[in-house]
């Protein structure tokens, strides 16, 4: 997975909020990242972390009238958030495409698969009828749909879940996008089918030197497939690192907790799982402190009063800062202050947020390094 240096996408300080009865709900809170050509960026978070809203914000697909998106999304030099509608229509389905968790809501149920493919080939590439048909058959074959010629005449409901997902991928790939955003592309599929679809996406990305944002709640899905990974919590990026590094040396206590609470095939049966007490919050009015502090084994008074910003790990030896390891935590793993915070909380029996340390289970509060 090598990545040429060409910068494809630059997201700067994007904030997406919704006016609700409870107040201004900040779903994405000041997110910045860069994506190079051919790279896969994994975006991981639990429900409500803002990962799907972030994906939609990038393509200006947040349709809600009460929504507000600020910041800059620069795709190949032009700002998606400011471009005129005509340019935006050329972009979507052209140089940038998106696939969704549920293919039935993304596909048009009243149109044959063939017509849905042709539509985009005609609109974006100006292909003629005969060429459209040939290109469509080729696309369906490339995503592993058997009997492609016949399937052109199928309606979405006549396909199985896995085949529908493939058809949606074919439509997204039709115009050779530079950027593919895949929002939970395999969550609705069984494991054997999930594996096939992920392999397909990865192959297509490599063949087309396309960039991909792979959004998922499942750390296993991005392991081994993403070049770098961002972990989101309560609308903010709490950690970003090259994939291997995130799994082997996480800095943020949330990433660490997530990694240790997942049951793994390599575990012995019956192991008591580490837990993260409580559940993810909903942020109204924007964060002014660390949103994870109420569930964190390392929480100190500072975490409850001050917002930790995403900072580069001084010890990363990466040449380019955008590919480095960054985290948003005052007391990260693997640091003296972090270890002191954890040991102090253990001695006190509870965190600064008042959470008893026993709530983390036998091994759940992390190990000082």
């Amino acid at each position: 997975m090598t990545s040429p240096d060409e910068l494809l996408l630059e997201v700067v300080d994007v904030t997406t909020s919704f006016d609700t009865d409870l107040g201004r709900l900040v779903a994405v809170d000041g997110v910045s990242f860069r994506l190079h050509r051919g790279e896969t960026l994994g975006v991981v978070g639990e429900s409500g972390s803002g990962k799907s809203v972030l994906a939609r914000s990038v393509l200006r697909l947040v349709g809600d009238r009460n929504a507000q998106v600020t910041g800059r999304v620069v795709l190949r030099g032009s700002d998606v958030l400011k471009m005129p509608d005509r340019e935006l229509r050329r972009l979507r389905g052209g140089s940038a495409a998106m696939i969704f968790q549920d293919p039935m809501t993304a596909l048009n149920g009243t149109m044959r698969i063939g017509s849905q493919l042709s539509e985009s080939l005609r609109e974006h590439l100006g292909l003629r009828r005969r060429q459209q048909r040939d290109a469509s058959i080729e696309l369906l074959r490339s995503v592993g749909i058997p009997d492609a010629e016949r399937q052109l005449r199928s309606y979405p409901h006549q396909l199985s879940g896995g085949m529908r997902q493939r058809a949606m991928i074919a439509i997204a790939l039709a115009c050779g996008p530079d950027l593919l955003i895949a929002d939970e592309p395999t969550t609705a599929l069984d494991v054997t089918m999930q594996r096939q679809v992920l392999d397909l996406l990865d192959r297509q990305r490599a063949e087309r030197s396309m960039s991909m944002m792979l959004i998922t709640h499942d750390l296993g899905v991005v392991a081994g497939r993403a070049d770098s990974i961002m972990v989101m919590y309560a609308g903010r990026i709490v950690e970003r690192a090259p994939a291997r590094r995130l799994f082997t040396a996480p800095r943020h206590p949330y990433t660490d907790g997530l990694l240790r609470s997942i049951p793994r095939l390599s575990d012995e049966p019956g192991r008591e799982l580490a837990t993260i007490p409580g559940s993810p919050p909903i942020v109204i009015g924007g964060s002014t402190a660390c949103s994870f502090a109420p569930r964190c084994p390392r929480a100190q008074a500072r975490c409850l009063n001050e917002l930790p910003l995403l900072v580069e790990d001084a010890r990363t030896d990466s040449p380019s800062s955008s590919d480095g390891h960054a985290y948003a935590c005052f007391y990260p793993l693997g640091t003296e202050s972090g270890d002191a915070a954890l040991l102090g909380n253990r001695r006190a029996g509870s965190t600064a947020a008042g959470l008893p340390m026993a709530a983390f289970g036998p091994t759940g509060d992390g190990v000082p390094t």
Partner: protein
């Protein structure tokens, strides 16, 4: 056909739950469960794992007779549920409880947590033993009754709702708890909490669990024994260590190879281990049901259906339905 638990000779316990020839059919000729024999002994956790459409949820419902299987028998504590009168079956229900995948829609939105948990004992006019009261049960599942007992389901998170469903089931002091995908709708950070809770309750309350799930890592964590289902039939069953350490059926091996694991960051992802899709349960393949996707399939697999047999000497409790099993 032998089951893994013998009642005679070996001095092993009589199974608490025994299924023989269980079938579940739906209109349109779909045989979701196409003949399952199973025995669950007291105190164990047996998991049934498989992909969607394999019939695992239909099997779970058949076990608690909601609705009863189309044919075959379910014996609970030695009694055939089919032979019971409606009132006798009702009287047995508290001992045979079930929890579901969607924790929010399986709770009555208009009732408080306390009321939801108290309903069962009220209906059964059951005197609750010391430490078995509604508030104590809520405390056992990690819901503080003083602070949260009077809240309604929409005021709880998904994980808390699942805790309340568990409280509603265990307050009746059941013998068997059937869990249908109890953690698959939960966030990963909450999933671990609920799995730990189930494991602890099972030990504290001496429960027997039937655990239905599609997530192989979750199943490995919670189970004593595992049954793998494909297209309505069990293709392999055995102790958890045997199934994961020594899988003999090609389908089990394919499933295990498909699981995306965090350890994948360390190794590069190799070829897809299984191709194609699950055939329709209304017209399963002849012979072995897995043969259309199996790398090892031969002519014999199309003509002769493999029976579930012990893998070999020394593996009495590890059964596989395959003509060409993998012997580790």
């Amino acid at each position: 056909m032998t089951t893994s638990v013998e009642t005679k000779g070996h001095g092993r316990p009589v199974p608490l739950l025994e299924l023989s020839g269980v079938e579940v059919s739906y209109p349109g000729g779909v045989r979701a469960v196409a003949g399952v024999d199973l025995a669950v002994v007291r105190g164990e956790t047996l998991s049934v794992v498989g992909e969607s459409g394999c019939g695992k949820s239909s099997l779970a419902r058949a076990i608690v007779h909601a609705p009863p299987p189309t044919s075959g028998t379910v014996r609970f504590d030695g009694r055939d549920l089919e032979a019971l009168s409606p009132s006798e079956l009702r009287a047995l229900r508290p001992r045979l409880q079930m929890i579901f995948q969607d924790p929010i829609s399986s709770l009555n939105p208009r009732r408080t947590a306390r009321q939801i948990v108290a309903d069962g004992p009220d209906i059964w006019k059951r005197e609750l033993a010391d430490g078995g009261g509604v508030d104590d049960t809520l405390r056992k599942v990690g819901i503080d009754p003083d602070r949260m007992g009077d809240r309604r389901p929409h005021q709880f998170s998904g994980g808390q709702c699942q805790r309340i469903s568990i409280a509603r089931a265990v307050v009746l002091e059941p013998d068997v708890l059937v869990c249908d995908e109890p953690v698959s709708a939960l966030d990963v950070s909450v999933q671990a909490q609920v799995l730990n809770l189930l494991r602890r309750l099972k030990a504290d309350l001496d429960l027997t669990m039937v655990f239905i799930a599609h997530d192989l890592a979750v199943v490995k964590n919670i189970s004593d024994r595992v049954a793998v289902m494909y297209l309505g039939k069990i293709c392999e069953i055995g102790p958890v260590r045997a199934i994961y350490g020594n899988p003999a059926h090609h389908y089990t091996r394919a499933l295990l190879a498909s699981v995306p694991d965090v350890a994948d960051a360390q190794r590069s992802v190799s070829d897809a281990p299984v191709s194609g899709e699950v055939p329709s349960p209304s017209s399963p393949p002849s012979g072995c049901r897995f043969r259309t996707r199996c790398p090892r399939a031969e002519l014999r697999c199309a003509t002769e259906e493999p029976e579930l047999n012990a893998l070999g000497a020394g593996h009495d409790d590890h059964l596989v339905a395959c003509h060409f099993p993998v012997r580790g």
